[in-house]
């Protein structure tokens, strides 16, 4: 699942997969701006058929936190 989430983030931001490291945070690269962040959230929700709780969105600030949240929502 981790690789799939990273691949989706890379595709949405239109950057190479190597750029999407665990520690990369929103805002660290120009491509990951607020519009990019919303696109990541909505694409993950659509493609993985999940829904991020609103109260969690504020804390989804890094690749690792997004992967962890997806794993939790999908009970991986």
């Amino acid at each position: 699942m981790e690789n799939k989430v990273k691949a989706i983030i890379a595709r949405v931001l239109n950057v190479d997969l190597e750029v999407i490291t665990d520690g990369l945070c929103s805002g660290d690269i120009p491509e990951w701006d607020s519009v990019g962040n919303l696109a990541i959230i909505s694409t993950l929700e659509q493609e993985l058929e999940i829904e991020f709780p609103l109260e969690d969105l504020f804390d989804l600030t890094s690749v690792q936190s997004i992967v962890d949240e997806v794993n939790q929502l999908m009970h991986v």
């Binding site: 805002g27 120009p30 609103l54 969105l57």
Partner: protein, 490 residues
């Protein structure tokens, strides 16, 4: 220390440094740059540009990375009379190719793009070493206030970007207008989350430094947690945002930002329309903050302002001209003034209105005499307030980022769809303001909507891919072949 009579912005920055060189002017991450260091680094960057042979009047393409080197090089070029062509670091390569072709720069700085005869320089290669520093004995070239300082690119209705030539006088006039309206002063500490490649963000940088305040460079608004931490840690007193960022802040953090209400003296909002309910919410959350909503274009920066608390009875209005140096009028299709209350085209003249577009063709219908034509429709009431009612230009305004429908249509047509048209529709998620919808002409083409969307991901940035699609028998066109988008919208 330099003197720059051609640029009031640069003169003010130097004046503040003379007055109090140890006050912090810029913050980026853990780096704190004093006014004195800012001047020293601008002079070092100017010496570097001179040392590599760039002459006044020549052009450099500068990638607007949110880094200190960008700030030094940007002001150094202005000090020397070198023209800055400021571009988005994430510009698609075809847009960049076009900009390079029509600007013919001597050097490209901060981009991995080496396809021309220009010199390609990375920020890391820019030498601001001790031998370049403190060259206060340098004789800086004579530059006129009317010389072009910056060329900024906006989206044209045909899809090709338009180069907007702004003089030193334009930039200084704009910064003076804005600072006068907002009330910026040397006690301000601003967090800059806006991109520096846009007129709004770059303008904020000039305004704060010109006022003697402190600018904190923030990557962008994506990481709100980090942004809020900076507001707290740096005791930020103001920031600028586009309406899409406000929607983003609301969606991801609710009303948590209100805890900064007492420390924020001003918030500037602009580049797209802010819904009335959001104006009311901002007024509730920030009862003591100056909420300054601007209307303007790169060509005529922040021509009109409204401070919400002072105009609480007039929230539908975009406000009044920003200063006595700016005039706004409503003209009909022949360029004649219309009576108050009658819709026409908003036209602007003033100290910040661009000299011209870069390409002569773009100038053909840009002005009625001295009046710049905005392409926006609206009226003025008897009290002098202006109202927007529509847009003549057909650009889609996605969170302040203007996109030409022609760009999206070209991508769709390249998939073998015989004809198509894109129009702006309200963002169903209520974040971006407008998003594109595509009308596609039915044909024997067997591509499904899903396949079209998928293929467009290879051709367009994610945010430019239409969110809605509709098959139609034909695309309405005028006798001259122009798409009649209003018919589709209706």
């Amino acid at each position: 220390m330099f003197d720059a009579p051609h640029s009031h912005v640069l003169s003010c920055i130097a004046g503040h440094a003379r007055h109090n060189p140890d006050k912090v002017a810029l913050v980026e991450g853990n780096q704190r740059i004093t006014r004195g260091q800012l001047i020293t680094n601008i002079e070092a960057a100017a010496s570097y540009l001179t040392s590599i042979g760039i002459k006044p009047g020549e052009r450099i393409v500068l990638s607007a990375r949110k880094e200190l080197e960008f700030v030094y090089l940007y002001f150094a070029a202005q000090l020397l009379g070198i023209v800055n062509v400021v571009v988005n670091p994430t510009s698609p390569s075809d847009r960049l190719d076009y900009i390079l072709k029509i600007t013919n720069p001597i050097a490209v700085i901060g981009l991995n793009h080496s396809a021309g005869s220009y010199r390609c320089i990375q920020f890391d290669d820019v030498k601001l070493n001790s031998s370049n520093r403190g060259e206060s004995s340098c004789v800086w070239p004579k530059v006129s206030a009317d010389d072009v300082a910056d060329i900024m690119f906006t989206t044209g209705t045909t899809g090709a970007p338009k180069g907007v030539c702004l003089s030193h006088a334009n930039l200084s006039g704009s910064a003076s207008n804005i600072n006068g309206f907002i009330g910026n002063n040397d006690e301000d500490i601003e967090a800059l989350g806006l991109p520096l490649s846009h007129s709004f963000g770059l303008g904020r940088l000039r305004c704060v430094l010109m006022a003697g305040g402190t600018m904190v460079l923030v990557g962008n608004f994506a990481n709100l947690k980090a942004f809020f931490t900076i507001l707290e840690k740096e005791h930020v007193t103001g920031f600028g945002m586009v309406p899409a960022v406000w929607q983003y802040i609301k969606r991801l953090s609710g009303t948590r930002i209100a805890k900064f209400s007492n420390q924020l003296h001003y918030i500037e909002v602009g580049s797209a329309a802010l819904p009335i309910e959001d104006k009311r919410l901002l007024m509730d959350l920030f009862p003591k903050t100056r909420l300054c909503i601007h209307y303007g274009l790169t060509e005529a920066s922040r021509a009109v302002f409204s401070e919400l608390h002072l105009n609480a009875e007039n929230l539908e209005s975009i406000g009044k001209p920003v200063s006595s140096h700016v005039e706004v009028c409503i003209l009909d299709e022949n360029g004649a003034p219309v009576p108050d209350g009658t819709d026409g085209e908003l036209c602007i003249c003033g100290n910040m209105v661009m000299k011209s577009y870069l390409l002569p063709d773009d100038n053909v219908e840009a002005f009625y005499d001295r009046w710049f034509r905005t392409g926006d429709w609206g009226h003025r009431d008897s009290a002098g307030y202006f109202y927007l009612t529509g847009r003549k230009k057909e650009l889609i305004n996605m969170g302040g980022e203007k996109v030409s429908p022609a760009t999206i249509e070209d991508a769709i047509l390249s998939l073998g769809i015989p004809d198509c048209a894109c129009v702006a529709i309200p963002d169903p998620y209520g974040v971006l303001g407008e998003v594109p919808k595509a009308y596609l002409q039915r044909s024997s083409n067997t591509l499904s909507i899903e396949e079209i969307k998928q293929r467009l991901t290879q051709l367009l940035p994610t945010h430019e891919i239409p969110v809605q699609y509709e098959w139609v028998d034909s695309i309405p066109r005028s006798s001259s072949g122009k798409i009649q988008r209003l018919k589709l919208k209706n």
